[in-house]
Amino acid sequence: MNSRSLSFGNWVGRTVQVLSRSLDLRSQRHAVISSNLANMDTPGYKPLELTFEKELQEALGQGGPQPIRTHQDHLPGTLDEAATIQPRLRQHQDYALGNGSYQLDLDREMARLAQNSVAYEVTAQLIARKLAGLRLAINEGGK
């Protein structure tokens, strides 16, 4: 599944590529959190955590030909890797009791759930805005 084969990525811009991958990852994280919540009362279940923030950062900063940055505060230019970011799934250490067993903290998990869905909605909104901007350019451009 190479997203570069979707040729429209070139004119829609890479922002949308990154954002849609981010949507994808957030919906996966939501599934992981749901799984933790459903198994809250299952003996021996080990809560999981899906992380991708670091991977996203790394992907934004490396890979492919990079434009020269003349200032360290400039944004890195290559975002192609973003579409292939692989999240990391591991046992949630925040809930480890230290003796090999885990105890899910309901409030904390609900907070993570809320945080994730708000972030998802923000990301979706950003994509919509970006596309609305393009639409405006298309509509107004011919006038």
Partner: protein, 145 residues
């Protein structure tokens, strides 16, 4: 469709918690039942939960890492708990033994109520997860507007 999988997972959680609530209600309703088909007083029941993988094998193939790890929950069985019945002296009771003792079920009302609250909270957590998934999916639909 991860959001749909997430909703399926939450649904299994809700089903399991509802079974648990039913069993707790059964325990509460039978707290004073001295007669059952087996001849003993009613025995307290508890549900045993087990996690189970979600999704079709095909889906799992598509998404190896997550497919196996996203787990729903199911009720394995409903277990009878031992017969440590409460022994109460009540010679007038029709089920009293020769010494005038009646055996009542081993049900602690407070314990059942606490379990009931716990089951309700777990159920609500799953409902919230479904609502969040729905909100997210609707938000994603708005991209196309």
């Amino acid at each position: 469709m991860n959001l749909m999988t997430a909703m399926d997972v939450s649904a299994t959680g809700m089903v399991a918690e509802r079974v648990r609530l039913n069993v707790i209600s059964m325990n509460l309703a039978n707290a004073k039942t001295t007669r059952t088909e087996t001849g003993t007083p009613y025995q307290r029941r508890t549900v045993i939960f087990r996690s189970r993988p979600m999704g079709q094998p095909f889906q799992q193939f598509l998404n190896e890492q997550l497919g196996e790890q996203i787990r729903g929950v199911e009720v394995v069985r409903i277990e009878k708990r031992g017969g440590d019945f409460k022994k109460i002296h009540d010679p007038g009771h029709p089920d009293a033994d020769v010494n005038g003792y009646v055996f009542y079920p081993n049900i602690n009302l407070v314990e059942e109520m606490v379990n009931m609250l716990e089951a309700t909270r777990s159920y609500e957590a799953n409902v919230t997860a479904v609502k969040a998934a729905k909100g997210m999916a609707l938000k994603a639909l708005e991209i196309g507007r």
